[in-house]
Symmetry: C2
Subunit: 578 residues, 2 copies
């Protein structure tokens, strides 16, 4: 028996906070040593936070990150630590340091650099070309980084050939709904194909539009999931392995193996680095393996929204947030997320009735606020609205009221929220959903005004579903039934309904998903069973509203393709596709 | 003598306008044939426009672009055409088609894909691995694309080894001040090092934040510039070459040559493709070579702003623009650019005095408008401002007037402009300069509200310089002297001056350039001779205002690093560097 205790330090780092991130790393190293772990692993780029983006172009940033690594290495005694950092060797590399007893025993450079979706790693990093395997307390350990393990052949294959029995794969893998299942399947396959333990440690926390969901995992050589860490929370995930399991499994596995390097001959170098041949002391008691039950779909998405909101607000140094409450489902849901993220004492609701607002809008806003335990300020917009009509009387002479006057109201509300924000130092959360962002059914500088757009990647139909989930989970109506059941309206003119401008949401949302997230063409979408005129109208709305989205605040990505860095469409764009 | 007539079709394409771009390409092929050119070359991705960004993920877009290419090839008779398009061969390639007499005789795939600055080509394209040389009317021609020629060894080297006498390098090279000179030196070196003609054809026109400046060039084997096309305008650039010049030069050139492939052995394939051995008919009269004088610095930057503005407005389908005039230099300059871009009949000035506005602000706005021949509407903001103060009376009780009340005024102005925009369908141009965008000395949803930010990449000191240039060029005061000479103020409170919040611009701008464009650290900037406290204050302002810039409208890039896609900093960012 060659027992090996792994500790996966699933920490919440902050981009650029070299000091804070390093302090946290030291703390977890200390705790892992207390737990008698042989090795503690940290997420990808743990020292800098992920993604550091163009901070990577600052030589001082690279230098400071290296200094912090050296400090940490100095404190790394009686344990081996795997730490994500930026290595400068001529070019810069997305790297993992392997530290042991105050010494840097080796460095791995990420070989597969993602440059799609939200990722721009080719912009910054040079790919690695070396696959070391470390012998740690008598066990052979290969280290690689995130994307490296998503390919069937890659560093893991080479490290297995060099004798690796355990792979430590360090990650900063952004969340979208359903991704955890993919990861689990892929990692199980990778572990079993290579007949070794795979330990996957993921970052946790929000960074601008991204949420990293944690959920670190350890698999055995048969591809069984041994351990699953918490999702959306910091965690120290522990696993006791017996490396002899790998030896036995390989002896008895009769599947033919055709190992071959995925890289050109001589392109990649490999070496075994002996850190310590001395086996791990066996007197420590075996730990129970933690195996959290994965969250259901709604709980997962909801947790992502809560964590993304909390971290954006807190990491930007804000204490409180402001939300304009309209009495509709979107603002109600946003307020509920905010309360779950920040506590009710840090959320202020503001309802801003106009001459077109119904009584129910105000009473529903108050009811919601009371359910959530937050204040609901009432600030009527009539005075500034009349002021604008007065100021615009001359230039608007002879015109009919239209979207111009409607938008003035939305902008007055935006201005009031921003004035309160400027006065009290609270961040404004906007309340627009993905269906609105996609179609441009929102007012630039009006309801789009604010610092963070909590549900900008949540389609309207999913807002309902998540509201119902949270109400049910609470065992009472947080969002009032009247809010759940009323017909959506912007209330910017008498008797306005969303369906005056948009197809019903159960029709709209699948069209949007097909077009925005899956790049389907109009005829493919029509063949899914939708009306041709409707499909073309929706596509046209999406395309012509790129300019609005370009000026939208960031918000939490929860789908495979969010607006923002994830989807880069030109504003000037004459392509129609029919 | 082996005479060869080149036509470089420096056209202004529109992203996504496959129909319009193709019609233009056909028109220029027709004109080039009338001019008896042997070969006509179009810019990079001429069929799709550049950069098509995530349109490239739509299979229908790739298919439609290919159909357009086939149509063009069918019409390509009696001439060889080199046409940028997207080639789908499993993966997609940034490609150049070589068409002759209705046939696609070959395709080149870009080998060096830029993935820095504003470029994301690794996100989309697979790099090419083949370097054909085409024999056209008895002359050997290598074709490659943009970035390919920026490296000392690359496809040009390989094509020269295969006998190329002429290189056609097709481009979509975005403008920044001073880049043209770099290009010219680099291309001259490339031509002379490889002892061949280099024909560089560049795109012209604005696309979102980018301006392509044209200025196509032809060099002979000695590196002499033979021809320079127009800058910032469409042009058909012609050059008569004698391929025997190359033969003679190589015979007499005694410099040692060490040709070697920059690629691994066997990685790149090459072949000679004979299109036509028949020499060009010699009866055509030699053309005079056009050689435009390159524009001076101010003229160049000013032209970029004019073209970028015109194309953003027109390509988005707008006829008229609105500009808020404050009586200051920025709005005056923006209005002047707009008039030069769109004609005075398409520009409307609006001055929106407040209780803090000076008499001069209104009279200077009117004076400027009169100089430019545009209307100057006067819409006082007092009524809506009072409306806001009334609405906010209760929540603001017990607080002192501060930036909250100041920003309300800026936002009232933004709302008025947007209301006029919504009512009349005119685009709002914003007037903030780069110094303000960098430091956050601007109001989100206030003076930042609008569709296009003409001078967002122009530092304040350069705004003065360009204003003086344009006044001088006009031979009269377009921008009144009083505007040029007054001290900058936002006029949001009594006696406010920019220097209350910012260092003087002649100090601020070089610090910003060092920090934003050159990634210098605070101590490096201090060592340039600036005060430490000032430098740190400026850096802090730049870093903490990323959230504002993220919601800013696009504007013309004129420096080596603009805000926008060019500079990707996180909003959540705790790095300070000291």
């Amino acid at each position: 028996m060659r027992r090996f205790r792994l500790a996966l330090a699933q920490i919440n780092t902050t981009v650029g906070d070299l000091e804070g991130n390093s302090a946290k790393i030291l703390d977890y190293i200390y705790r892992a040593r207390q737990l008698r772990a042989d090795l503690v692993a940290f997420p990808e780029l743990a020292i800098t936070g992920y993604p550091p983006e163009d901070l990577l172009f600052k030589p001082s940033f690279i230098r400071d990150n290296r200094r912090k690594l050296d400090e940490i290495i100095g404190h790394c005694q009686g344990i081996t630590a795997v730490i994500g950092f930026v290595d400068a060797q001529g070019d810069i590399h997305n790297a993992a340091a392997v530290a042991h007893n105050g010494r840097l025993v080796g460095t791995y450079h990420k070989m597969f650099l993602p440059n799609y979706g939200v990722f721009d790693e080719d912009r910054y990093f040079k790919a690695g070309s070396s696959c070391p395997v470390f012998v740690i307390n008598g066990v052979s350990v290969g280290v690689n980084i995130c994307e490296d393990i998503w390919y069937a052949t890659g560093p893991t294959t080479l490290q297995r050939e060099l004798g690796a029995e355990v792979i430590i794969n360090i990650n900063a893998s952004p969340y979208h709904a359903g991704k955890r299942g993919f990861r689990e399947k892929m990692l199980a396959t990778r572990a079993n194909d290579n007949e070794l333990f795979v330990a996957y440690v993921n970052l946790v926390g929000g960074q601008d539009e991204l949420v990293f969901d944690g959920g670190s995992m350890v698999f055995n050589e048969k591809g069984d999931l041994l351990t699953l860490g918490k999702q959306f929370e910091e965690d120290m995930v522990l696993a006791d392995l017996d490396a002899d399991d790998v030896f036995r499994y390989r002896l008895h596995d009769s599947r033919p193996r055709k190992d071959r390097s995925p890289f050109g001959e001589g392109v990649v170098t490999s070496q075994r680095i002996v850190v310590s041949q001395q086996p791990s002391s066996l007197d420590k008691a075996l730990l129970a393996q933690d195996k959290m039950k994965p969250l259901d779909y709604e709980a997962e998405v909801y947790s992502a929204l809560v964590l993304g909101t909390r971290d954006y607000v807190r990491k930007n140094g804000f204490q409180k947030v402001l939300i304009g409450l309209s009495g509709g489902i979107d603002s109600s849901f946003t307020a509920m997320v905010a309360v779950d993220a920040l506590g009710k004492e840090n959320v202020v609701g503001v309802t801003m009735p106009s001459r077109f607002s119904s009584e129910e809008s105000i009473s529903d806003s108050k009811w919601l606020a009371s359910n959530l335990g937050i204040p609901c300020w009432v600030i009527p917009i009539e005075d500034p609205f009349v002021g604008f009509l007065e100021a615009l009387k001359e230039p608007f002479k002879g015109t009919q009221p239209n979207v111009a006057e409607e938008n003035v109201q939305a902008r007055v509300r935006g201005d009031i929220l921003m004035a309160l924000s400027n006065k009290f130092g609270w961040l404004v959360l906007t309340t627009g959903n993905k269906s609105e962002m996609a179609t441009g059914y929102c007012t630039l500088y009006g309801d789009m005004a604010g610092g963070f757009a909590v549900i900008k990647d949540v389609p309207k139909t999913l807002v309902y579903r998540l509201s119902a989930y949270r109400n049910q989970q609470a065992g009472k109506e947080l969002i009032p039934r009247t809010v759940m059941e009323k017909e959506p309206t912007a209330e910017l003119r008498p008797n306005q309904k969303d369906t005056d401008s948009l197809p019903p949401y159960p029709v709209l949302d699948p069209i949007l998903q097909a077009y925005v997230e899956e790049d389907k063409s109009w005829d493919e979408i029509v063949s899914m069973g939708f009306d041709e005129a409707t499909v073309k109208r929706v596509i046209r709305m999406v395309d012509t509203n790129e300019y609005k989205r370009r000026q939208a605040p960031p918000g939490v990505k929860i789908t495979p393709r969010a607006f923002g860095r994830d989807r880069r469409l030109p504003i000037v764009n004459r392509y129609r596709g029919w």
